[in-house]
Symmetry: C2
Subunit: 366 residues, 2 copies
């Protein structure tokens, strides 16, 4: 593919500012080192092995994935992979077991059914798979509910064939803000986590790994006593929601979607060619209205999205774009936008440097 | 790829019930014939050329697309293509002009800028491109606002180099219901459409094509006086929103996402492996709560979606799924789900028959 310039790139196009990515990775690595935390980024945000390689070069200790296909793709650059997802289902297990033998694989699970299936599959495949017991620390999505349940599952993991109990994991997705208002939520989480850890340690099942964290809570991970590992995903790119909750500055947003103004026929608005099939129709957190905002004019938001149309709300600006003008949009939720693109265009010093295939999206060849 | 059975298909997987597709196509073709309407399905819903071929075999007079890549893919099976999208931007125009010469291409537009760019590109490419002037009949997304504006653009289209004025088009996306409550909206639309048509005809620019329609308004298209062509997209598959607004029966939903229950650890719910990256986080219309419902148990809805997790709300049922169980989910908005899948699995008599690549998604090779 010939290298296009930013001016003639077909729109909509997903752009990644490499300098910002590098700064974001340096910042998280510095933070993790400062606080003695391992850093295992969740690669579901970008699904690009070359970006996982950058994360590993920047100091990450391994990668996190959520699907077998992500695991396969990331295994080309990473030797230590955590599947932060219950390994349930024959096809999912088969693909996991076919990962290269040298990959150190760990999975998160919260049920005896998942553990039993994993143990049989690992045994058949002749490999050992690590287990983290998934805890529900308030998000109420997955995770065991009580220290007794965690203990039962940890005990079973420590004796089951071909698996190895390695610790505990949680995802604090219910804490959406980095701000002071959420202090008590983080305190509650820490208290709860310690109850689980203590019950396990008292039973001789000390969790060597205590893995948790999200981008919104990222910079406060050191307040969670006992944590050994953080798994931020969005942080490599950031997005409008991350900026809104204080997890990043707007100038740390490294991902945007380049779009063209295609219509100004309806007064008071402009229509761009980035809609829900380029940005994803993901609602904003808290006070974030609309589905995205312009990188260079964050006061201009995307009022509504159709599949191939985004409606710029011009009520907060005197700027009046013309048909053919180009803009860059920061979506609310970057992960949901990335997965709609087959490639991301890397920018270096504002110019298109190269393209990455979003190799880990979808299911790959089953 | 070997043909998997429904029982061992890797999840999440997009399934299409062929018998239901065929019935849906027969129904719309019968309706169109009955009312003397041409039927030009919008292929953005499925993005599969084989399904466009089925639509053409069933009686469609051509196809509608929204991107150059969809046009390229559909041109392998269709000789008459409408781009229902403003042809703005050099890359978009270049790709359109590279379509096979025998493809009869028409585009919708609402600005002089778009028309001027199209005329130059068509002239350079040595082809003639049809133009439909896009009208805003109440949706307030794209489209000229007044008969005077329509007239100016139609006149310019009729004289510009290498383009041919063919008529008018609109999308009634603001009418979300097929039900009686929306009678007045349809009446207003018809009145407005006639004002436009009359102004054009009086000026000697009679619109040979009057193209409009959506799936929600589909079965009432005959009430829109002067309409010559309908462009339903979703109708081939239908979805939860279509059923909710009365555009189809639940048993006419032909698309579902097969998913596996991966966790029941949190009481009162079950978690499946279809989240926003398989179903899309699209809100329901009107009274539709959640992000989807089970095909065989529509009372079980998806309360919330994370990227790879869907939370089944079990409050309306005594059914208690177990880890490893499989379910089929009908999403709120099928188009947004399809685009997340690289293939659709065709079912015939309940068994997997074959897979289609979703060849028209994304941008293709630029």
């Amino acid at each position: 593919m010939e290298r296009p310039s930013l001016e003639n790139l077909e729109t909509p196009a997903a752009l990644v500012d490499l300098e910002r990515v590098e700064a974001n990775l340096r910042r998280v690595d510095t933070y993790a080192r400062q606080h003695g935390l391992r850093w295992r980024p969740h690669t579901k945000t970008h699904k690009v092995p070359e970006l996982a390689a950058l994360q590993l070069q920047a100091g990450a200790s391994g990668v996190t994935v959520s699907t077998p296909h992500e695991a396969e793709v990331m295994a080309t650059v990473a030797s230590d992979v955590l599947l932060a997802y219950p390994p349930v289902g024959a096809a999912r297990l088969e693909r996991l077991m076919r990962l290269p033998a040298q990959v150190r694989l760990t999975v998160a699970l919260d049920s005896r059914e998942a553990l039993a299936g994993l143990s049989i599959a690992a045994c058949k495949a002749g490999r050992t798979v690590g287990v983290l017991v998934e805890l529900d620390l308030g998000m109420r999505r997955v995770g065991v509910q009580s220290p007794a349940e965690a203990l039962a599952l940890a005990r079973e993991s420590s004796t089951a064939e071909s698996v190895e109990y390695r610790g505990i994991t949680f995802y604090p997705g219910h804490i959406r803000s980095s701000l002071n208002a959420q202090n008590s939520a983080l305190g509650d989480l820490t208290t709860r986590l310690q109850e689980f850890s203590r019950a396990l340690s008292d039973a001789g099942l000390h969790p060597g790994v205590v893995s948790g964290g999200s981008t919104p809570t990222l910079w406060r991970s050191h307040e969670v006593a006992g944590l050994t590992e953080i798994r931020p995903g969005i942080n490599i790119f950031n997005d409008r929601n991350s900026a809104a909750v204080g997890a990043c500055d707007w100038r740390e947003c490294a991902y945007s979607v380049l779009a063209t103004v295609v219509s100004t026929a309806v007064p008071g608005q402009a229509v761009i060619d980035a809609g829900s099939k380029a940005l994803a129709k993901e609602e904003g957190v808290a006070s974030v209205a609309g589905y995205g905002a312009l990188l260079d004019r964050p006061e201009v938001t995307l009022r509504s999205l159709s599949e191939e149309h985004g409606l710029l709300d011009l009520s907060g600006t005197d700027w009046r774009p013309r048909v053919g003008d180009r803009v860059r949009v920061v979506p609310n939720h970057v992960c949901a936008s990335v997965v709609l693109h087959e490639r991301l265009w890397a920018l270096r010093a504002g110019s298109v440097s190269h393209a990455w295939a979003v190799a880990g999206r979808g299911w790959g060849s089953p």
